[in-house]
Symmetry: C2
């Protein structure tokens, strides 16, 4: 995780810009292009616009997968473009499989596609996390794995909180047990949403040393009041993702989409200096 | 799910052949090719060899993803080749994301890539299942969604069975609530491993009407004694996946890999006539 932490420090920003390219929301000027071409151009424009204000970018793999094999080429190109701008890339793939299958996914996203970090789904237990972790350690790029712990969507409650102990506590234990010291934080982080302060604060209690990646800020309804309970004893330990409220900021403005995204990223960075 | 059920009936087989192409295990004759070329040729050879004895094929997406964008082209080609042979394809992607992200994954695998069914990870709750189900219904190909319920790997216990009620029972409830009648079975099925008879029989108790997809037969250590507890009151309701013990049967034989796979598939089909 140190690559993310170093970038956050250098930029003075805990903001992660999420690339969730949704063609129907692209600006008029890109509508004459194919979906694939428009996706590439839109995301490149966003990357360059937000670079000064963000610690990292998070690519939502689904939107590239939807474009077929060519979409994965665009995904590869954007991870490379991010690296050229000095931005670590988090591959938001939420893959959840085991053993050699998990190893193949890990090799794909951390090796072939070159992301620094990856998000992982723990439904199948530690067999689903370890192969990603081993691949991240092999790459020695200061990367790591973010395990889904408590997500920000409404129906997560019925699964993550309905048992005794709550599933998100079981998974917190898994996260705590798998990480190794790797600089400021262990190399296994946790995805903890910003929409449920009481859950966030319990996750922090169980994982006092862990780096959190927090979605749900901005468009999903979270705000800084949801982030505060996630902070560690030093008032840090959280990277905050914002996707749609940066990408589509132009919809609420008279600006070019790049300028609107740049301003939205700068404002979010400032708001998140808690 | 009716496409699978019809194929199983037509073939007199509940066997699903899993395509898990692992280049280091390919036969000598394919070693001179690139990994991508060898993967395509190996999988096409397997498809044609096993076709008479299987109800469907299951493609393990990770092994194609590992080959980069070109690997996804091969994945597409194999789903099409399966369809040309009259075999429904199950995209074993275990994706687990929500809302528009899940919808993008669903569009990718059930739409763009053309699979009939898809496997889904329920960690994020019903938000993670519904978009896949909606896409499967939109395609009207008799497809559906298999939700991970109780998987066959050792570390699944710490997550799926360690709470009260056990997580796999919570997810069984989710599966029961989401499916709609769609022929012989509802359009939401369950992935239930063949390695843990007591868990399998509890899952069947909770899901008396559901079609199960059962991995872990053959190479993973399951056998027909693990399948019996999964059967419904009519002695059916289970499709059984076998991957490595079919694909790499040639390692234990003097035959060509295709002949060895064909014999292994025929034997497994016969063994599974319970």
């Amino acid at each position: 995780m140190q690559a993310l932490v170093d970038a956050a420090r250098r930029k003075g920003s805990v903001l992660v810009a999420g690339l969730d390219p949704i063609p129907s929301r692209f600006p008029e000027e890109l509508r004459t292009l194919s979906e694939a071409e428009a996706t590439l151009e839109f995301c490149q424009g966003i990357l360059e616009a937000v670079e000064p204000y963000v610690a990292a970018v998070k690519l939502q793999a689904a939107y590239f997968e939807r474009l077929g094999p060519g979409g994965m080429g665009i995904y590869a190109g954007l991870i490379e473009a991010a690296r050229d701008l000095g931005l670590p890339a988090i591959a938001d793939v939420k893959r959840g499989d085991i053993g050699p299958v998990a190893a193949a996914y890990a090799e794909a996203h951390l090796g072939v596609y070159g992301a620094t970090c990856v998000t992982v789904n723990p439904y199948m237990g530690e067999d689903a996390v370890l192969p990603f972790l081993e691949e991240a350690r092999r790459q020695t790029l200061g990367g790591g794995v973010f395990v889904l712990v408590a997500t920000s969507n409404p129906s997560s409650r019925e699964v993550q909180e309905s048992t005794e102990p709550p599933l998100f506590e079981v998974i917190s234990g898994l996260v705590a047990g798998l990480g190794r010291p790797a600089g400021d934080y262990p190399d296994v982080g946790a995805v903890v949403g910003a929409t449920r302060p009481e859950i966030g604060s319990r996750a922090r209690e169980l994982l006092p040393e862990t780096l959190f990646l927090s979605p749900g800020y901005g468009a999903q309804g979270g705000d800084t009041s949801g982030i505060r309970p996630l902070l560690d004893r030093n008032g840090g330990g959280v990277l905050v993702n914002s996707s749609r409220s940066i990408l589509y900021a132009y919809e609420r403005s008279a600006s070019d989409y790049r300028n609107a995204a740049r301003e939205a990223a700068r404002d979010a960075r400032d708001e998140l200096r808690l």
